[in-house]
Symmetry: D2
Subunit: 351 residues, 4 copies
């Protein structure tokens, strides 16, 4: 049993970490912080009766590991001090995700408070950085859109199959991805029967995608990334368009993907045939709802052989495999637990 604290547990990301950690057999929740003064169950009616209380950040006690689900710029000021007490840190936010200081400061529009710690932090995609994660004291948990795109295109990029300067990604997100703070664009009357495109240039996750994909192919990549909110509550679909450098058909690519991820418990390649039946229930692509609330990433794909384009559909939950759940997967690795411990719950159908 390890002691775990959660900074910022009243938001959606912290609340999701709490839900999963409460059922994790190796974990004892030490504390939860929040600026608010209400019991947990006011916001998290799903945990009604759990009798949990938020404390102030000033009241925290020693832990084996802390999860930070804080607004940008806060944990970078505290991490050094926390690490110094022997406590590990998993940042569910963005303070340590980039490896280039100048870019971080430009993208996040502030000076970084502790770049040495940022350099130490390991980017927390276990499928790509498992060994480093096992040894890490501090994890930069990846962005949600980034996770989906990087996992979705890693086999293509690693194998040099596509033009890496013309990668187009349309990221469609459920509204939980926008967080618990109210805003008129996520006000139900506005978005309940609407689509809200909100970013074209310089979305912060772009730089994570370019950073990680460039590592895989040892050359520069350009990710052309656009985002929109759709009226679902949870989950992300990244539609990734790649121009192929060699001729490959759908079956060959599916085999490549299945090989690439063959030892991964949480990555599923959708290999449904395209001619299964005439009804749309036989569509051979992944569905966001199937992975909501879980640590799974489902990847499907197709090839337009006539026009030389590969399309990757990558779905995950921004609070799950794109957030708190993968943070716990990282925790399992850091503490030598079975990697899938506490994370094997399947998605619901319907969701």
């Amino acid at each position: 049993m390890i002691k775990v604290g959660i900074y910022g547990a009243s938001g959606y990301m912290g609340g999701e970490a709490l839900r999963i950690l409460l059922e994790h057999p190796e974990v004892e929740i030490a504390w939860l912080t929040s600026r608010g003064d209400k019991p947990v169950e006011y916001l998290n009616k799903n945990l009604y009766g759990a009798e949990l209380k938020f404390i102030k950040p000033e009241e925290v006690t020693p832990c084996d590991v802390v999860f930070a689900a804080l607004p940008s710029g806060q944990i970078m000021k505290k991490a050094r001090e926390i690490l110094a007490t022997g406590t590990k840190v998993i940042d569910l936010g963005a303070d340590f995700r980039l490896t280039d200081l100048k870019q971080w400061e430009r993208v996040y529009e502030k000076a970084h408070a502790d770049w040495q710690i940022a350099e130490e932090a390991v980017y927390g995609i276990p499928e790509l950085h498992r060994e480093e994660i096992k040894k890490a004291r501090i994890i930069a948990n990846p962005g949600c859109y980034s996770s989906a795109a990087i996992l979705g295109m890693a086999p293509l990029v690693k194998n040099g199959l596509i033009d890496t300067e013309k990668i187009i990604v349309d990221g469609l997100s459920g509204t939980a991805g926008a967080g618990a703070e109210t805003d008129r664009a996520i006000h139900h009357p506005e978005i309940g029967n609407n689509i809200v495109p909100y970013n074209v240039v310089g979305h912060r996750h772009t730089y994570e995608m370019e950073q990680e994909l460039s590592i895989l192919c040892s050359t520069k990549t350009l990710v052309h990334f656009t985002t929109a909110y759709v009226p679902i509550t949870r989950g992300i679909l990244d539609i990734c368009h790649c121009f192929s450098k060699t001729k490959m058909n759908r079956d060959e690519l599916i085999d490549l993907y299945k090989g690439f991820y063959q030892n991964e418990a949480f990555i599923k390649i959708i290999d449904l045939p395209k001619d299964a039946g005439s009804s749309w229930q036989y569509i051979p692509y992944p569905w966001v709802a199937a992975v909501s609330g879980t640590n799974y990433c489902h990847i499907g794909l197709d090839v337009d052989e006539e026009r030389g384009r590969i399309v990757i559909f990558s779905v995950l939950d921004s609070l799950g495999k794109g957030g708190a759940h993968v943070g716990i997967q990282n925790m399992n690795l850091m503490f030598g637990f079975e990697e899938t411990r506490g994370l094997k719950r399947q998605g619901s159908h319907p969701y």
Copy 2:
């Protein structure tokens, strides 16, 4: 470990039983039947990679218990034979729910095939029939609206606090309650931004409510029940209006309810104060989304002291505490497992 079979696993109810049983530590899935010929994961993308196959009903093998998630009228023809082999039966459908043959035949518009078995079957609400369930060979799992209403009003009815001839229940259901068969009223373009009231007179669940509530108060009850679909995927809210016979305020009633259900793991009484704050996030009533995908029932209430009315809000998931999950709770009781085994997962937030 017990061997479990599921009849009708390609529908939503059978699929949900499958999802929960797959993660149940005492259970081995023996088989799943379906009339269709596709692998499970075509319909249940949430289980992608589980490599499960449906078999035909003719191909089943012996089990310790079978769950039946079949259209009305099918399992009543098979149950006797199944029981004779020593296999227990949990009917997630409606073949054995009523105790009055004539009413059953009138309500279900067909002749009953085996009333002796129906008379043996125990109505599967553990909070009211726990001891009988432990000894039962066959369970009539309750209807979803019925479960919410019966659990919601049992303390009032049992204690003789209300006029039992003027109980009004408005049942609001997510569309999963309508099942997996397509129908124009549940076609997304029709209901996605709509409310669809669909029944006023003689909804089948009315008779379960009247039957069970009458047992509790040893007198006749009349439940005036109306139903509507709202555009959520899962979950039910029963709004129950009762006219009080004595003066009681909200706090007294909340205490009564907490006492009534004090030993129940899956019933939570929402006891939030009414004056917590001005924002609607402090509404002291239960939310459907908090129990979706779980075996929990959340009950909240309020009293209009001026007009003599008590309102009970009872929420559960029609596939969860109102369906497959409570069926598994019953299975746990029947086989001497811990009652909460495999059922403790909390709801998600958001859902």
Copy 3:
């Protein structure tokens, strides 16, 4: 052509009045007020290109009539002065809806600023108060839930057919009814797949219902009213449960309703037969989506003859027949225009 001003045009109600008045052939929009400083089309993208500007309330110019879509308590301070200039007033808010000063002050939790004007104001349901509206200088436009319930039960109450002390109304509302101000309960991640019951005791519209229904039957009425938000954007369904004093069947009641509203352009009685077909598309009750964006109220009903209960389903749009549109119907009456002028647009399908 008359000159029309709108106070509070940046909210949903004022914005809807604007949309309809822009297409009204007898109307010239004189001005729109808002506290904000952005062009109209920032909030009302539906009017993109209309080149309308908000002004400050201090900058208004003389008009023939003003619509007030202001927070509670504001227009009551200005109405006397506006009326003194010969300008008529249609209050889309609640300042003048009740006829009992003490009740108004209790319900709205403030002192009324000008009760003499409140006494002059006519309650703006044309189907019940047409002749007074024609002569009025000031209209108290009815609440949305109230309009649906009063129109829905007027024929029953007027004809003495029901127990008027046990009228139960469950009001289900789309989120636009909550207004444009953000709040966590209407934040999309919270309500997008949820139902939010929010009021049991003393909802303000209760008193309008009791006031108007009592006039119709010349005796006291008690309306037991509960409300919930469901995840649709617009529209209201009031489910009204009444206990009948005499035996009447569905067909007789439908005839009664059709007679009662035979000369009304905007009230439609759903007279679909109950046995039209097995698919749910033949459900003989009204659908909210059919009247969204319009001035129509659709009323359907059914009778549980066995249990002595009548159920009325009354649907309208809280911004339409329950708000801005009926305000314009009132304006038409006040200025001698054809009553349906500018209001005949049909609903969309799907919506």
Copy 4:
């Protein structure tokens, strides 16, 4: 007044044509056909009380113009005969949209029944083919995704500003675009909280886009088109990614677009500044909900100057500017009515 008939009025497209034509001051509805036997208001509750009846296709009478909203392959067999009687034809379907017979037959997987008529038909985008439409006897009304994409990219392609072999379009559609026939992928429980990508290769609308864009630039174009359903009822967002051949910034492109469409009543270029405010309500891109139920197309755009990409967001209603409404705009042109006659209704807010 002209006499108008509608073939296939019981579907969503035919029903929408009916709704708009009923309010068109120059039109008398002569008849509506449907294979079903129910009154119109069973399906179109929005028209309740209109007392319209469907007739069989065999019972039609002479008209000035007919709208065809039929499944693929039907109207091509009848058009010659209809035209011969002097009746004009507006095909809301796909029988006459392509100019290359071989491609049509490959894409629609059948032999074409009357290619001579197809060659005569004018592709019905008024902004690009106004003069031909005025003189036409038969119109091939464009596909919904195609309309949005072609209108969205015409100024770029016409002016030679982009690489026309690498045009990527992600088409996001509301479920009404899937039509009134039920299918499990559009069943509410499946898609209500989900995203359903459904096509990567060879969507039929691809060929319309390539055909029309190639005309504009007099060279071959390749459109890489992918589609997904999102849980909104109506409307389409095409996200179009183009790689620019010359440097242009957002303001310059907005000016170009405003110039290109300066005389068009139904095309609005969203020219909101990017720095209007920190809240998302100031997002300077178009919203689908703003044009639902209308004949408007809203186009917004942005430029990633660093990576050389232009993004066009083009929104319209698949039953409106992408369907029945533009068909009526074409009818207005063909009969010499004012082009905007009967089509000026603004969108609703919220929708």
